[in-house]
Symmetry: C2
């Protein structure tokens, strides 16, 4: 909102903007939307709180920018149909170990309506469209995607948010071993007769 939105020339303040964004992601991920204060984020980024306002307009605007997230779902067309679940779990685990964004979004979605809306968008659009590539019937596709989301988000929730000890201790391979068949069935299992 400071310059023409589609201006492509780099601004001198880009490093500051990036620092703010990273600090915001970390704080939102660690504390959730309401506990993460602009002052704390600004302190992490070593700048004045008012800078955050100038560059991102408001706290909600900052969150909107910090919680931009792409699942980066792989192309599943050339995956053996029997290994879809396994590929998906692996992808998700790799995707959010080391990226705070999803955790931030997850934490915030519990209390912030806007964040919940975005979460809905991500899993409705990105996941559903991926599931649809090899699915058939429309409402069934949506339900399969929803079920996959329920297990995936439950995994993330128990492992990264609540930190249930057994879920934290299991290494990725063991999680894949247990969870992959679940997703597999949600994706390709035969619906109720």
């Amino acid at each position: 909102m400071t310059a023409p939105a589609h201006s492509t020339q780099p601004r001198r303040s880009d490093v500051t903007r990036a620092a703010i964004l990273q600090a915001a992601r970390e704080r939102f991920a660690a504390d959730g939307y309401e506990r993460a204060t602009i002052r704390a984020i600004a302190a992490d980024a070593r700048i004045d709180p008012s800078m955050v306002m100038r560059y991102y307009g408001s706290k909600e605007g900052l969150f909107g920018a910090a919680a931009e997230f792409d699942l980066r779902l792989p192309d599943l067309t050339d995956v053996p149909p029997g290994r879809l679940g396994e590929v998906l779990v692996r992808h998700f685990l790799a995707r959010w170990e080391g990226d705070d964004t999803l955790v931030a979004l997850l934490r915030a979605a519990s209390t912030n309506p806007g964040a919940a809306e975005r979460m809905r968008g991500i899993f409705a659009d990105q996941l559903t469209s991926t599931v649809a590539t090899f699915g058939t019937e429309e409402t069934m596709t949506a339900r399969r995607a929803g079920l996959v989301a329920s297990q995936i988000l439950g995994l993330a929730f128990t492992r990264y948010i609540v930190r249930l000890p057994p879920m934290v201790e299991m290494d990725p391979e063991e999680l894949v071993f247990w969870v992959a068949p679940t997703l597999q069935r949600y994706l390709t299992g035969q619906p109720e007769s």
Copy 2:
């Protein structure tokens, strides 16, 4: 803190206490820990905010009282071993449709460390001990319980918190159909070789 803790005679203010508790549960469930204000809870209970403090000491104390929760897991010893998953899903769905407490705890656990701790306690103690009734090896039992929790909480999270449309629209029977086999495998499936 007002009277001898173990006094069993009813106080005249018990109805007020109960009203506060119910309003607190609803607010915590709807808004999460930080957004649910003492003033709003007091207004719902048609009482002065200072009453909340007198009866529950602090906001955290109020939450502690409001989020007291028992999973009320049924005795699984006389359930056919092949239907454990089904029984569990049914129980959970019935348990928290119409009781805000778990939703309140779930929302709060995302941002409030104390709530997360309590959540850990509930699923570690209650669920694990139930799983242990027919389980064998100790760390394996804990992991089975964790996996069950991941799917159960993921179900609750997507259905009641984020409200993913397909997860909201599915009726309980359909959820049972899909999720029961997952829990069944987490409970009785053969571990990694």
